[in-house]
Amino acid sequence: MLRICVLAGALIMAGVGVADAKTFRIKPTPTVQADLQAALIAAKPGDTVQLAKGRYDFTSGLSLDVDRVTVRGAGMDKTILSFKNQRSAGEGLLVTSDDVTLRDFAVEDTPGDGIKSKGADRIHYLRIRVEWTRGPHPQNGAYGIYPVTSTDVMVEECVVRASADAGIYVGQSRNIVVRKNLAERNVAGIEIENSIGADVYDNIARENTGGVLVFDLPGLPQIGGHSTRVYRNQIVNNNTPNFSSIGNIVASLPAGTGFIVMATRNVHVFDNVFAENGTANVLITAYRPTITDPNYNPLPREIVIRENVFGRAGFKPDGDLKALTQMGMQGPDIFWDGSTTYVAAGAPKTEPVRISIADNKTQSGAPLRYLSMGLAVAGADFADAQPSTTLPGELVIAEPAPIKLAKR
């Protein structure tokens, strides 16, 4: 016997009378799943979907595919979209249209990703909170705020907590601003991956496994990321034990990492405060697994670390750097694996690697602690290291221009 138990009611669809209205007003009623999804489908470019304050429960993912729509709540602690009971879809909210603004609401406890926007140019995340309320847990969703394959991305004044991969993850995109956000207790606080042109500034990344990550991975449609500026951030106390599922790249992230850069170029890190990161404040490292993609360069190159303030670090090295402890050493403020050659698809390759470290300060006034492992080739065993503590000094490496996002 078949019976229709819920026809996703949504009499709102019947409301052709709203055709002229610019605002859909949604309240946390028992039919909100259908009401909100209906509004997200019925909205026309320029419309607003207004979410009243309250707690909303969803059993399925939501999606928006209309350009120039604003979805707006009453505040990240007042309008709460809970996906604790979600049974289908890979994320809480999926946006696939351009010029969308998401602002002033929270997404909690999605089984997969929190909010994903794919191919969504000029998206604006403003004062959004994405959180897994039980705190760090390996069964939490992967990404909190997840714009991917998009151009002109703005993420600002958002809060992300306890994602099992990256709190704010921007992947395979161009022209990105991530500013004034709080990322805490995630595996990775903020991650810029396979992207071109990003400004990451005025954020707080604390109590994650790693605070801020900039890197490229092989085998993706967009590789060859470059030109990221990371500045004026507070990157502190990132010592949460890694709770990512094995297999993900961040599963190899040592707890106690402030900032890490890997397999990308022209990354400038300045005017940040780093402190209380147990492995190292800054890690500069090659991608270590075997590479089959002949177009992928695993080396970090054209890296500038200047005028940052460094607090305590290296007091509890984790992951690969645990070996330092066995050698009777502490983790440094700045660590570089030192590799300048690599092997891709079986062929040995090299490329000029320039790392500039200058004008940084320590909170204690003690000299900056720097360690290069002097590895001959990317991914080489640390047992083959030729460590050096001599700073590479200042090089002239042109800084990327500030990101200007396209106007809508």
Binding site: L2, D65, G112, K118, P138, N248, T292, D293
Partner: protein, 360 residues
């Protein structure tokens, strides 16, 4: 919601709907088909002789695919309609080039007892893909409890499906009718909606017609839906045909069940995992490929496909799962597909490090 409430809601929902066609009018209404505003009821299109859509009209042709998408064990009835005097143009690769005015019809149904698959077939929804002037449009029509009418629901629906399975046990399923965006979630290429199934290679098979066996592509030509049916048309394996090579069956299964998202222009393009039949690079279709954006979906495994080790392969892990955030595909199934799982398990078990099947 009780039945009365449901009927009332429908009445409110569609009281103002415009189109209405007599129950016995079997002539497809091109005005309705091509209208920018979709009809409120399935019967308005005039595709079937009866409002319950059991009797296809004279211009509708039932068709079968070599390897279909798995849909929670539902029975699927597929029909093609092309306007008078217009045929699809044959293409060896990709979806046939259908003319404007084409309607692809797919009804999802469960028999009351799967041991009698043709008896008491209860329709859940009928999806139309209509090739309009501006492109394809996907429209889900939801059947009422009395099976007399299917009405458009662009926001989807959840239906309760019950049936007796092959062992005589009662089964129940919350059937999710996709909303408009979810239709696009599978049917999107770049930003446009397109059909998935009707490719020459997936249609190229024999079908029973009036008690005789006939070549389906030639039958489409005879019925006026297709211009030519070349003898050398490609053919994709039937995933459940034990006489076909294992590799061909597995790749056919992944192509149909995964590649609508996992292709270089599809919704899962950013994963770098491409499961189309055309993908030649073993790393791109998963061999020793590390996960990207997978989260807990990795199941703590390192590779999409670890040759020789199906139970350490993320791809199989996600096929076996019915947990949101882990399961693949993300939409369109709530159950695990035992036959598909067995196939992929066998295929990975017999694979060498280069992605080829080991010779026995």
């Amino acid at each position: 919601m009780g039945k009365a409430g449901f009927v009332l809601a429908l009445a409110l929902l569609f009281a103002f709907s415009g189109h209405s066609v007599g129950a016995r009018d079997a002539a497809p209404n091109m005005g309705v088909i091509l209208s920018e505003k979709p009809a409120a009821t399935l019967s308005a299109y005039g595709l079937f002789r009866d409002p319950s859509a059991r009797l296809p009209g004279p211009d509708l042709t039932r068709y079968e695919l070599n390897t279909p998408l798995y849909s929670d064990d539902a029975v699927k009835l597929r029909y093609v309609f092309t306007p008078q005097g217009k045929t699809a143009r044959y293409r060896a690769d990709g979806v046939l080039d259908f003319p404007v005015g084409t309607v692809l019809v797919k009804t999802f149904a469960f028999p009351a007892d799967i041991r009698r698959p043709d008896a008491d077939l209860r329709f859940l929804e009928t999806r139309l893909l209509i090739h309009k002037a501006r492109g394809w449009e996907a429209l889900p029509y939801v059947w009422n409890a009395t099976q007399t009418e299917a009405r458009l629901s662009v926001i989807g629906a959840t239906l309760d499906a019950r049936w007796i399975d092959a062992t005589g046990s009662p089964q129940e399923l919350a059937w999710a009718v996709p909303n408009k965006n979810q239709c696009k979630g599978c049917h999107a290429l770049d930003d446009a909606v397109i059909p998935i199934g009707p490719k020459a290679r997936n249609l190229n098979r024999t079908v029973a017609q009036d008690g005789q066996t006939t070549q389906q592509l030639a039958h489409w030509v005879a019925r006026g839906h297709l211009d030519i049916a070349p003898d050398n048309a490609p053919r994709v394996a039937q995933f459940d045909d034990p006489s076909a090579p294992l590799d061909a069956r597995a790749r056919a299964y992944l192509d149909v069940n995964c590649a609508h998202c996992h292709n270089p222009r599809g919704p899962a393009s950013n994963s770098g995992l491409s499961l189309t039949l055309e993908t030649e690079d073993p790393h791109a279709w998963g061999v020793l490929k590390r996960p990207v954006a997978t989260g807990r979906g990795t199941g703590d495994y390192l590779f999409s496909i670890k040759p020789g080790a199906p139970h350490e392969s993320i791809l199989l892990h996600r096929m076996r799962s019915i947990e949101p955030g882990v399961m693949m595909p993300e939409l369109g199934r709530a159950r695990a597909h035992a036959a598909g799982i067995a196939l992929i398990q066998d295929w990975i078990a017999k694979m060498d490090e280069t992605g080829r099947q080991k010779t026995p």
